[in-house]
Symmetry: C2
C-alpha cells in the first residue's frame, strides 16, 4: 500500500518541504492550508465553491459536531463526508482547542474533560477514548487526539503536567483503534499533538514522547495563543527539527499569510486558521500588497478589484466599491465574495510556495513576496 | 428597432401568455419570476450563482440604493449593472412600496414624498421627477415610477385619491425623460403602475388613466397587502382584462407558487417577491409537494434531497438532514443552499409554465401541478 505521506522535495536553502498526503478522499499537495469548516460547512460557502477554489482538504470540529447535530446523526449520514456531501479529504479537530477557549465551562482530569455545552449548558464528559470513537463516527481522513492546550503565559509546572497528560492521552487515543483505523469505508489516520507551552525543554520532551507513538503525522499545538511572534517561530522551528522527516507536520491555528510562509521555511507542511474566513466576514481582505480593509469608506468609489491581477472568483468580476457596499449594507453576498477571495489567497499562496520548493528556489521566492507585502504588526 | 415586448402565444383555454422582453441586457422569456436584489445583491447569492440558475432579470430597489451607497456612487460605478457586475436585465422598484411599508417615517403630498431614513433618521424629499433621475442613475432596464400604495383595508375616498395621484405622478415621471430613455449606454423602459386598492371601479379608472400614457409595460400594484386571496385574483383578472394585450403585465410583490400560476392564467407576465429568498433564509423550502419546513427536527435524519427529482444545485447534492443541520446551527451556507433551491423552484416553475403555454396546454398542466402540490392556506 502507498505510504500515507510522500516527501517530494526539501528546499536546499531553507528546509521548506513539498509533499503529498495520500487519503482515500484524494491526494493533498503540501504545503497546504486547510479551510475551517467547524460545523461541517466553511462559513458562507458551498462545497462547489470550495471545489472551484481547489481546496483539497477542509477541517471539521469534533466538539461542535458532537453537540450538534450529534455523533450518531453524523455517523448515520455516512460521516461528515456523507452529511455535507464533501468528497475530498477532511480533518477532524479533537475539541482540545475548544476546551481551552471555553475553559470556564470545562474541567480537565486524567480521565478526560468534563464540560458544559456552550449551546444549552448541558453537562458532558469525554475521555480520550470517547473522543476517538466520536471521530470514528465523524469519519475524517485525519483525526486529532484529545490534547490539553494552555493559555499564554503558563507556569512551567502546569505546562509540564499538560504536556505529559497530552502524551498519555495520545497513547490512549492510539490504543483505542490503532494509528490507522477504518470505521466507515475509508482509512482514518491518527496524528499526535506536541504541547509544552512556551518552554523549549518541554517541547523537546513532548516531541520525544509523541514521536515514540509512531503515528502517521504530527501536529504542533498550543501556539498562536498570545505568545510573541518570535517565540512562535522559534518553538515551531525547534519542533520541526526534532520531528521525524518522513511524517507530515501540521502547525495548528496559524495564522497570517506571512506566518504560514515563514513556518513553511521551518519545515511545516499543513496549516489551518479561521483568519481568512473570519476576517472576510468582517470586510478585511488579504492581498499581495497586505491587508485591505475593504469596508473602509475610502473604497466606496474604487472600481479596482480587491487584489488587482488576482484570479480568484471575486477579483475577476467584482470591485472594491461593490464589496464595500455589500459589507456596509450587511449583505451576506459580501461575506461570501470576501471569503472566496481570502481562501483563494491562502490556497494559492501555498500552491506558489510548493512550486518554488519543487524548483529549489523557495528562499528567493519568499524574499520577493516580502518585497510587496505589507505585514501585519505582531 | 425590435419592439420591447413580443407576445408569442396565448393559451386558448386560460388566456395565459408567453412572450419576450427585449432589453439591451438580453432577452427575458415570460412568464418570468424576478429575484429580489434590494441592495444590488440577491441575499446570500453571487452573480455567478444567479447565472447558473438562469435568472434573466433581477430587481434592485431605488429607496435602498438612494440611501446606501447613494445614487451618485451607483451612477459613477456604471449604474447597478456596473456596481454589481450584473450583465443581465434589471428592474428598479421606485420606492413607492417602501414608503408604504415604512409609512410611519413618510409623508405624502402632491409634490412627492418626504421621509426619514430607516438607517439614520436623516430627512429626505423625493418628487416623482427626482425618483426618475435617481433611477436613470441606477440604470435599470425597466424603471418603475413613484406610486402611492395604501394599506388594506382603505377607505374609498383615500383609495381614489391615491390612485388619481399615482396616475398624475406617472405622467410626471413619463414627462421627465419620456417612456424610453438612455442615461447610460443602454435603453431604460418606464412602466406604469395601476392602483385603486380593493375597489373595482377605482381599478378600472386607474387602468384607463395609466394606459393612456402609452408606456412600454404596465404593473399592477397595491395588491398582496393583506386582502383575501380571492380579491387578489379577481382584481388581477380585472386589470389584465383591461390592459392592452401588446404590453407586458407585471404583478408586483406576489407571492406563493400557486398564486403565480393562477395569475399567469389571468394573463400576468412578470412577478417579483421576497417569498422564496426570505423563506429560504428561515429554513422553509418550496417543493413540488408543497412547503417543506426543513428546519424541523423531523428532517434531522432524512437523507433525501429537499425535493426529490429536483435538478437544482441544492437538491442534486445535499440532503434535508444537512440543510436542517446548517439552518439549525445558523450556518450561512444553509441559507445559500435553501435560496438556491427556492429560486430554482420559482424560476423553473415559470419555465415549465411557459413551455405549457407555448404548447397550448397550460390548463391541463396547471391541474396536474395542483394534484401534487399542497397549498399554503390563505
Amino acid at each position: 500500500m502507498k505510504p500515507f505521506f510522500t516527501l517530494e522535495a526539501v528546499d536546499p536553502e531553507t528546509g521548506a518541504r513539498a509533499g503529498r498526503l495520500h487519503t482515500d478522499h484524494g491526494e493533498v499537495l503540501t504545503p497546504v492550508f486547510m479551510p475551517v469548516g467547524t460545523q461541517a460547512a466553511v462559513k458562507t460557502l458551498t462545497a462547489e465553491q470550495l471545489e472551484a477554489l481547489d481546496a483539497q482538504i477542509i477541517l471539521a470540529n469534533t466538539y461542535h459536531l458532537y453537540l450538534r447535530p450529534g455523533a450518531a446523526r453524523v455517523e448515520a449520514a455516512g460521516g461528515v463526508h456523507g452529511l455535507a456531501a464533501w468528497r475530498r479529504a477532511l480533518l477532524s479537530d479533537s475539541g482540545g482547542y475548544q476546551f481551552y477557549s471555553l475553559r470556564e465551562l470545562s474541567t480537565v482530569s486524567e480521565e478526560g474533560v468534563g464540560f458544559r455545552s456552550h449551546l444549552d449548558g448541558s453537562k458532558h464528559f469525554l475521555s480520550p477514548e470517547a473522543v476517538i470513537d466520536i471521530e470514528a463516527a465523524l469519519g475524517a481522513d485525519i483525526v486529532m487526539p484529545l490534547d490539553e492546550c494552555l493559555p499564554y503565559p503558563s507556569e512551567p509546572a502546569a505546562a509540564a503536567a499538560a504536556a505529559a497528560r497530552t502524551a498519555r492521552w495520545a497513547r490512549r487515543c492510539r490504543d483505542q483503534r490503532g494509528p490507522v483505523f477504518r470505521h466507515h469505508a475509508h482509512r482514518q489516520f491518527l496524528f499526535g499533538i506536541v504541547q509544552g507551552a512556551s518552554y523549549e525543554v518541554l517541547r523537546r520532551e513532548s516531541v520525544a514522547a509523541i514521536a515514540e507513538l509512531d503515528l502517521p503525522g504530527y501536529a504542533i499545538g498550543g501556539l498562536a495563543v498570545g505568545e510573541p511572534k518570535s517565540q512562535l517561530l522559534d518553538l515551531t522551528g525547534l519542533c520541526t527539527s526534532l520531528l521525524p522527516a518522513d511524517r507530515p507536520r501540521y502547525l495548528m491555528g496559524v495564522g497570517f499569510p506571512e506566518d504560514l510562509l515563514r513556518c513553511v521555511a521551518l519545515g511545516v507542511d499543513m496549516f489551518d486558521c479561521v483568519m481568512p474566513t473570519r476576517n472576510a466576514r468582517k470586510g478585511t481582505l488579504f492581498t499581495r500588497a497586505g491587508r485591505l480593509v475593504v469596508k473602509n469608506a475610502a473604497y466606496a468609489g474604487d472600481a479596482a478589484p480587491p487584489d488587482p491581477g488576482c484570479l480568484c472568483p471575486c477579483c475577476r468580476r467584482y470591485s472594491r466599491a461593490y464589496l464595500r457596499h455589500l459589507i456596509q449594507a450587511g449583505e451576506p453576498t459580501g461575506m461570501t465574495l470576501a471569503t472566496l477571495h481570502n481562501l483563494y489567497f491562502y490556497l494559492d499562496l501555498m500552491r506558489a510556495a510548493r512550486s518554488a520548493i519543487l524548483d529549489g528556489r523557495y528562499g528567493a521566492w519568499l524574499r520577493a513576496f516580502f518585497t510587496d507585502y505589507a505585514m501585519a504588526t505582531d
